[in-house]
Amino acid sequence: MVILRAGLCPGLTAEMIQLLKANSIATVVDLVSSDLEEVARKCCLSYKALVAVRRVLLAQFSAFPVNGADLYEELKSSTAILSTGSKSLDKLLDSGLYTGEVTELTGAPGSGKTQVCLSIAVSTSHDLKQNVLYVDSTGGFMASRLLQLAQTRTGDEEEQVEALQRIQVARVFDVYKMLDVLQELRCSVSQQVLSSSGPVKVLVVDSVSAVICPLLGGRQAEGLALMMQLARELKTLARELSMAVVVTNHVTRDGSSGHLKPALGRSWSFVPSTRVLLESRESTWGQASTRRIASLTKSPRQPTGIEVELDIGSCGVLEESPAASGEGR
């Protein structure tokens, strides 16, 4: 719904706009969808001029259909699959994080979402040598833990330092600031402000529900609108800038069945294309025998219900090995 302004296209002058507005045609959609002969008669404008203006506006504002084969070729050349650094998690995600898509990690408090995010950040920055932007809204980011993870991957201090330098951290605690950060990222990429080793390839948002939950519920619809704004920004960043976006979400208890389900409701459930649920099974908070299970609850490529076991130790998210299974954590 773009408003008609003078100079929007050649031939659209201020007097024309005044006359059109007087007949309640204020936006591009109104002009393009109205019957031009009638408009020419009512506003005393030349029919030819109106047709020319309409043609230019259509060319400028309409979307172009793309051939399926062309789309496939484009996706093949622009999508990258980024390994998460953990073989079992990669198996769950069909060999890794896909750029152009939003992946969601959800789980109860203490189930390991922040640990998986930190692990992904370090493995992208160190193994794949790509830039990462980590947006932290819960305060759970610990640079010393990142250093620990980097130290288990390489003993060389310079490489550790480089790996940490490629991870940018933004600490935002409300939704407007988060939108600011995402907008700034988009501007910096579109203006081609490159940092030392290239554009950001992975965007981690931990967590998205911490900033949206205070706005949802009650009788206000504002919260949903802002949530969808955020969703649109994330998806646009993923698709247009070829990034892999990872978000974390909380869980709430379902009122009727008593099971845990991801927070933010049904509207948010359509935003990520892949959803992974992290759980710790057979554990009480007095004992030390926790098994951390990651299960796939939504995926465009794999069957849902696949489960893998993760081991969150001092080395990050490793796969379960027979030697390690004896240690209780």
Binding site: P109, D180, V181, C187, G218, Q229
Partner: protein, 367 residues
């Protein structure tokens, strides 16, 4: 600047009017003046001017932000954060086992939540921390001040006097063995009166007062910049009774958590909250879980659960970004929060628990 109008912090009614008039992106708003805007969407000229100022400010700050501009959103690399974290201190708890499992003590810029059944020692730890944050830097402390927000009325000044006296004596012992000048100098300022005068106490009787207090805290903190610890003793109490609308409660709690973490981050202080326990009835058994629901569990960065094991008090680290889960025993002595020392065969330290208000767990037990 192709930023959507919906992403600016404007009032909802105003936003609805702007979108209804056909404004989609910030670019369109930047092109017109306040008089035209007020005429087009039917608001007063002052409102139009304000709206345009908000939009311009956000857009210009985006355009002129460089990588070195820290105050805008606070972006920095992980390396810089690492340097900051390593330079930060911890608030020690005088119980070395607890300090170990926390990774050095209570961390700054994070929210630590202590949950436990009644009488297990949550308020004792809070009072201990309020004293420990004031320990001078040469003894390994932070030389900060503390804010204590009390909702249950469990703050006992005489107990704080006991804890503070023990702490000052401990520091004096250290100073005597080391015999250095700055130790003596800092001891002059570290006395019972100064400790008590640097604990700022607020009493909140219901959730509205608590919310108001937390939202007014940034102003208070900008005047008292040495505050390094904010304690909210009893965050569950005002929210657990007298609330019909549970979704409102979730919303308020989440907003409160975000406000607290942003204060902790902006002023580099630690926030400690205490929570109650509630029973969850499962399929075969019932367990004690922290109160306030599932969504509150995500609010705290570090969660400690205090519980009993027969007669021994235990602390379990249940959630932490950098330490693994573990359990340690602790004791509460007349001097405050302390470690458990295995009793040597020759002397038996008398561990008397002072619990003036709550029923003593063990009836007159002396080891």
């Amino acid at each position: 600047m192709q930023r959507d109008v919906g992403s600016f912090p404007l009032a909802p009614g105003l936003r609805a009017k702007l979108i209804g008039a056909g404004f989609q992106t910030a670019q369109e708003l930047l092109e017109i003046g306040p008089c035209e805007l007020s005429k087009e969407i039917g608001i007063s000229k002052e409102e139009a001017l304000e709206t345009l100022q908000i939009v311009r400010r956000e857009c210009h700050s985006n355009a002129t932000k460089t990588a070195d501009d820290p105050e805008a959103v606070g972006k920095c690399t992980a390396l810089e954060l690492l340097a900051q974290e390593q330079a930060q201190g911890f608030i020690i708890t005088f119980c070395s086992a607890l300090d170990d499992i926390l990774g050095g003590g209570v961390q700054l810029t994070k929210i630590t939540e202590i949950c436990g059944a009644p009488g297990v020692g949550k308020t004792q730890l809070c009072m201990q921390l309020a004293v420990d944050v004031q320990i001078p830097e040469c003894f390994g402390g932070l030389a900060g001040e503390a804010v204590f927000i009390d909702t249950e009325g469990s703050f006992m000044v005489d107990r704080v006097v006991d804890i503070a006296t023990a702490c000052v004596q401990h520091c004096q012992l250290i100073a005597e063995t080391h015999q250095e000048e700055d130790f003596q100098k800092s001891l002059e300022t570290f006395s019972l009166e100064s400790i008590l005068s640097h604990i700022y106490y607020f009493r909140c009787h219901d959730y509205t007062e608590l919310l108001a207090q937390v939202y007014l805290l940034p102003d208070f903190l900008s005047e008292h910049s040495k505050v390094r610890l904010v304690i909210v003793d009893g965050i569950a109490f005002p929210f657990r009774h007298d609330f019909e609308d549970l979704s409102l409660r979730t919303r308020l709690l989440n907003g409160l958590a975000q406000q607290l973490i942003s204060i902790a981050n902006a002023h580099k202080l630690a926030v400690v909250l205490t929570n109650q326990m509630t029973t969850r009835i499962g399929q075969s058994q019932s367990m004690l879980v922290p109160a306030l629901g599932e969504s509150w569990g995500h609010a705290a960065t570090i969660r400690l659960i205090f519980h009993w094991d027969n007669k021994q008090r235990l602390a379990t680290l249940y959630k932490s970004p950098s330490q693994k889960e573990s359990t340690i025993p602790f004791h509460i002595t007349p001097h405050g929060f302390r470690d458990v020392h295995p009793p040597p065969p020759s002397q038996t330290p008398a561990e008397v628990e002072i619990n003036p208000r709550k029923r003593p767990r063990i009836e007159g037990d002396k080891q």
